[in-house]
Symmetry: D2
Subunit: 482 residues, 4 copies
Amino acid sequence: MSLCSCKQEKKVNEECGVFAITTDGTSGIDVVGESYYALYALQHRGQESCGITVNDDGVFTTRKGVGLVPEVFTAEEMAKMPKGKAAIGHVRYAPKSQIDAVNAQPMVVRHAKGTLSLVTNSALVNGLELRQEMQQQGTFFQTTNDAEVMAYLIARKRLETHSIEDALALALERFEGAYSIVLMSPTKVIAARDPLGFKPLCIGKTKDGYVFASETCALNVVGAEFLRDVKPGEIVEVVNNELIIYRQGKDEHPKGLCVFEYVYTARPDSVIEGASVHVARRRAGELLAKAHPVEADVVIGAPDSGLDAAQGYAQESGIPYGVGLLKNRYIGRTFIQPVQSQRENSVKIKLNPISETIKGKRVVLVDDSVVRGTTSERVVRLLKEAGAKEVHLRITAPPFKYLCYFGTDIGKPEELMANRMPIEDMAAALGADSIGFLSLEDTKKMASGVCKDYCVGCFSGEYPIDVSKANQKDKFEEKLTK
Amino acid sequence: MSLCSCKQEKKVNEECGVFAITTDGTSGIDVVGESYYALYALQHRGQESCGITVNDDGVFTTRKGVGLVPEVFTAEEMAKMPKGKAAIGHVRYAPKSQIDAVNAQPMVVRHAKGTLSLVTNSALVNGLELRQEMQQQGTFFQTTNDAEVMAYLIARKRLETHSIEDALALALERFEGAYSIVLMSPTKVIAARDPLGFKPLCIGKTKDGYVFASETCALNVVGAEFLRDVKPGEIVEVVNNELIIYRQGKDEHPKGLCVFEYVYTARPDSVIEGASVHVARRRAGELLAKAHPVEADVVIGAPDSGLDAAQGYAQESGIPYGVGLLKNRYIGRTFIQPVQSQRENSVKIKLNPISETIKGKRVVLVDDSVVRGTTSERVVRLLKEAGAKEVHLRITAPPFKYLCYFGTDIGKPEELMANRMPIEDMAAALGADSIGFLSLEDTKKMASGVCKDYCVGCFSGEYPIDVSKANQKDKFEEKLTK
Amino acid sequence: MSLCSCKQEKKVNEECGVFAITTDGTSGIDVVGESYYALYALQHRGQESCGITVNDDGVFTTRKGVGLVPEVFTAEEMAKMPKGKAAIGHVRYAPKSQIDAVNAQPMVVRHAKGTLSLVTNSALVNGLELRQEMQQQGTFFQTTNDAEVMAYLIARKRLETHSIEDALALALERFEGAYSIVLMSPTKVIAARDPLGFKPLCIGKTKDGYVFASETCALNVVGAEFLRDVKPGEIVEVVNNELIIYRQGKDEHPKGLCVFEYVYTARPDSVIEGASVHVARRRAGELLAKAHPVEADVVIGAPDSGLDAAQGYAQESGIPYGVGLLKNRYIGRTFIQPVQSQRENSVKIKLNPISETIKGKRVVLVDDSVVRGTTSERVVRLLKEAGAKEVHLRITAPPFKYLCYFGTDIGKPEELMANRMPIEDMAAALGADSIGFLSLEDTKKMASGVCKDYCVGCFSGEYPIDVSKANQKDKFEEKLTK
Amino acid sequence: MSLCSCKQEKKVNEECGVFAITTDGTSGIDVVGESYYALYALQHRGQESCGITVNDDGVFTTRKGVGLVPEVFTAEEMAKMPKGKAAIGHVRYAPKSQIDAVNAQPMVVRHAKGTLSLVTNSALVNGLELRQEMQQQGTFFQTTNDAEVMAYLIARKRLETHSIEDALALALERFEGAYSIVLMSPTKVIAARDPLGFKPLCIGKTKDGYVFASETCALNVVGAEFLRDVKPGEIVEVVNNELIIYRQGKDEHPKGLCVFEYVYTARPDSVIEGASVHVARRRAGELLAKAHPVEADVVIGAPDSGLDAAQGYAQESGIPYGVGLLKNRYIGRTFIQPVQSQRENSVKIKLNPISETIKGKRVVLVDDSVVRGTTSERVVRLLKEAGAKEVHLRITAPPFKYLCYFGTDIGKPEELMANRMPIEDMAAALGADSIGFLSLEDTKKMASGVCKDYCVGCFSGEYPIDVSKANQKDKFEEKLTK
């Protein structure tokens, strides 16, 4: 349930979307304009800040700022951007404390051999280690972001090598963690994905050039044809508007893709690793129905991300699907609770039950997650007040129990409801009549098909790479500022 | 399909939402704060301007302006509003040419016997006649709005009578057309509905007072219990925080309710005249399935208003329901097309097909209307490009052929596709494989239950009241300004 | 001293500036654009709201709103305004409680015979009487403004007469008080001034049309040549782009011009009734020097309005003129005291002493007024802290003791320092070593030349017209809203 | 004449103001709030961007952005800033192409040994050299600003030394050019000035701490007492809230202070190197009167910076001082010329002649500079059109002929009028009857007293340090971005 604009409720947040586009100039494509539309399509991956670098014959112009895409790129600002034959762009999610223009991407680095601009969806477990190592070698940082670490290490390698690709390849060897990167040099645009493929990244083809994007929904909006995903560990580049594989990926499909991309993060109309997000969510619902059947009268979804899964649950169970909760579609960044009231049910402003669907019914409510439990508890109460006889919560993922080291902000373990009590107590605590989570095994099955494995560390505590270095990260900020 | 923010595409628009709340002060209800939430819930009925008048022991303070509720009522502005025991509020839809603060409601009138504040969702066929008549008698107008005509006529009658209720009753005798009115005097809040009940209006009960609202979704958000709809022709008032029926309504249920409230205007979680909007839409889908069956593989809805009906079509036909089109949830008033491009498919920015649902399939697309045809044609093309083998359009209302005189802005008859060609040619013109509209008879059945009849003038050309006076309206503006 | 943006300090405020322009179209003058520039030049007369009505071949388009001229008339809004051959405009000062778009001018009235748009700088002593009389006759008001009363009475007279000029003339007979009016009908622009000429109003000639404006500084900015002032009681009009005297003024020069126009309100580069404001202020300084000589080392002015007078004082007294106080030129509407501190000397943010001018010196400080005394007391302390041995206050007007009924907001009598203590005690109370006010006689001499008499009611309590009716005005608002 | 908001007219611009404040916490001083007021007072030194870093017990929080101080530091933003015991702040002037948040200061650097935050008013002749040298050593840059070069070199030296002061001292040895720096480490605030003292920097004392500021006007606004200027080459620091001289300055007074600080840049109420800016400007007028006497009737100044000098000219010459030009005090960043007109005299919107002062008179117009000549020519014409018989231009500085390498943006030499023609032709070209510039010798005398020498390179072409390295600077941007 995407109540991300509700400041009081902690929700899962995913970090960042990336985009790049090239043209040979023959079809008159406006690379800045298309980047605007693409970032608009990727807005759900990050609402805090955004930016675009355009490459006009080797001269880079960057505009970035805090706000949604149409807020930062007003008509006036768009008019100031030069034309060019390549551009990269970024939308960024950030915890509230880090919402600042200085953290916005693209990250532009001016080094001894030129300039590079980088956008990345990343989280490094050895970010602090690399930062400290580079600091010892005399590199200075303006932010506490991994993106700056990555850009500088690439730039550093650039000084020791003959090409930006070589530099990138060398730098990647040092990055431990999750990253999907797009890099622009004065003559090239390069995309790379970590060896486990934690974050999605795909390639598209326009009439006269190429596109890289975090999700396929950004290809659609610019009229690009989907070619394929960037493979885990692969480095591909566009040089002279030709697509070249610089370094082969090791596997056809990632072993570490964040399964939460399917559960919540990605847009349902995107296709990741051959699996439709929408279909994966329906599948999750079907699997839940098999694993946690219940006698009920109606299956409803928590908008927006629970809707697809609810349809799957309904179909598999034979219980009718219904629309039981309506979300106010004006809820957005402009909503500010203007009165400091004790409104216990602030959730009512965002969600309203449709009693005809619910009244006197035994309701299955399909949602994507239980984090601290506050929101879930309120939604259950809302349904009961609207006349639901029973409410059976079905969650399209296993319980959150462990920290994510790869960029998904699910909060501290001690805040997570699944850590505060046994699962069998959760239903009662939430006021629900039963609760069922998708099992780890089923979670991996939701995005069927070609992708064989996923990162499910936040559920299992078993991460696809060693995260021990990341444990120092918590004291990171304080150390740096003393 | 609610592409209302898309400036290029003409869409149906409904005018206005009204709200009022009273309290006896015992439970600490903040009438301005609750009005804010209620208008937020009614925002879909009008996004152009909004306003609130609060009554603080007989002293009225009004704040109104151009913009969405949270834009006009910022935290700073909210803090400036006094407390009070009654408030009325309004959200207004307006054609672009009339977006101006002077047209915003509440309309405050200071007359010889005091002050009144009025909000209304109305359209009078004799608005021009009344205006001219009052002008002859020396009344002056600042706007070209019917709301001003209504407020002034009520005020005029107030001068001749001993109470605001009597004044309202006398004024209502002169109003020919559609109106749901809420009026506040220093000591009373009064609600009235036209004899045919064109526009919805309902009554709610809070812990210590009453609420009037255009839709029940506004009751829910302020925690009010639904009592009943205001009856057609009825005048009810809250005096000393008691609910009093001043004038009995003639019928239990309206004969002229705009059926488009169920099709498009109202929020699905609202209940109008005992019929759930959500259920009515599902029903429309079922009726369509019976009347226009087709062999197909999947039924999809055009978001947002086509979704419920698609589920109904699917259930009735046995064809699986699918999610085939995704709407970018960041589309809103802030979206400005920053580049003046020849993007034929600007619809792509707002809607994206989910090809897994569509590819190779025979698709039934359920939508709420075909106006000029431009949008529908583009959506059909989008689906075909995404691989749909066939696209069968099913529309949850009859074809628009006639002007609406009661406040729904569907454009001029000559712009309407159903007027430019026979219905049997429309499928081909839109690129669809077949098209089916809900029949007039079925339209009346969609909101089953207690309400026996509706206004379907825009479909049939037969209006529940004489509209001949309204035909002069077109030349209205010019005449007034010469 | 124009600390008008300083919210804590009560300062004198004058209400409104008016403007009109006509063209025959031959020289390509953009009447909306020129109105923008003119209102910009008149901005000092009102910062709360502004507006323009343009007449495009009989069709009126009005844009008005809360804010400074460039805030309301952004490039985007300007682009939406049609071209035309006449326009009128307004800038409005308003007490904080009345800052609302509904009060902005031009006031547009649509009556039985057409439309009129009116801008006015006015204050009627019988405003309430007229309002009540009209209310009894069935006229309704949306605001509590005299402008609405005036517009409606003119419109009412229009219904009884054959021309807008006749209507205006009849209406003027009923207006008791101060008014400079500019009125636009579909074919005419008419200017009128009250018989005593309280408020300035002048006529200019452009290459192909005419201009009316509150001050000559607005003529200069649009490149118009000054023709003459509108005479008291005169009605002049532009018809078919010809200037016609509809009704002769009674006198050559006004008997009731507000002398505070010269002291504070008008821009120094304006010429009113043949007297330069700048020269008048210098003269006031000279007269002060004669009346209140003092042994001192330097004469300084309180910026901005005290500067000219200080030069006059210096020249007459032979004491050197110096710049002793500097005003932060970024002080404006955007300044918000961001910290709720106990900063006693908030005046420091706006004014800074130049110690080289002051230190060890006996200083004559020339200022325009003492209202409540708070600001004056702080400025004196500022100078003393900067090393002034003595501070001798010289005020370019008599003490404020009485209410102004004609539009200048000097506060309630009980707040005025000159009412709370004898003048001989004021110096000590302000921390000054002496204080001297311009005498009533000298005040009338400051704007030498042709104008023989002025309104000095706020100083003497003797008003040029009977103000007894106005005394009910204080309870006006409450009465209306009950 | 400070027409800095007039986009069409090229005017001289100076770069940046710096500020710092410390407290021991005893008197409850709010360091962020005081920084706000101080930056507000320094706003004239830079209107493009601004920022503040606050040090809360070693943790740095930085807020910076594009806009005026009250635009960037809204009440909402101020509320987010933590309290602390030290803060530094900056206002920045920037050429239009570089207005971007990434260039705003303070510049925060996170290095191996901690964090530093730096604000600087600087221009290095060897900025490019240092940048390239550091790039070769592996330092990466995000901007093309010298401030980043300086911050990184200090940080680099910090790695090689045991204290931030040692690091700063070592870094300063490499900086060739103009700089006034304030640096904050978690425990110290340090101020330094280049050996020639190009830019002003002073020290103040509050009740319980210290202040550094570009100008004394910022001391006044925070209630700090002026202690002394930072000496050229000096490094002073505040440690444990004690003021310590870390490195003695070489001279008592600078040899390279930019004389244009007195002519135009600084606020008249500031005192630089013991000389009041206001007094210096009067003095310049006196010297001009001696050097370029003329028979005339009135001396007027071009607002704002010419006013003081005009008074000096008047006093010395015996010709009466008059106010001949009035500046619209609403001219600011919000002013946008809304109509693309061919208004030749756009200067009229900003300046209006007071004809009473001018008409039929022989006028001496005192202004601060002639750059391209466009503005001066228009002002002369304005005066002649207002009736001036003669206009004698007197400029309070020598003609601009050479590039400034130290931060003052006077444009390219080929654009400068004094380079396009002999001085004796300039009067005719500007429409003036005579022209007189302050001689180089007199320029040095204007700020009499303790300061013996100045930088007058822009007038003489002889710079106090070798600027040959700076000549490569023009091709700087292109090189970096290829």
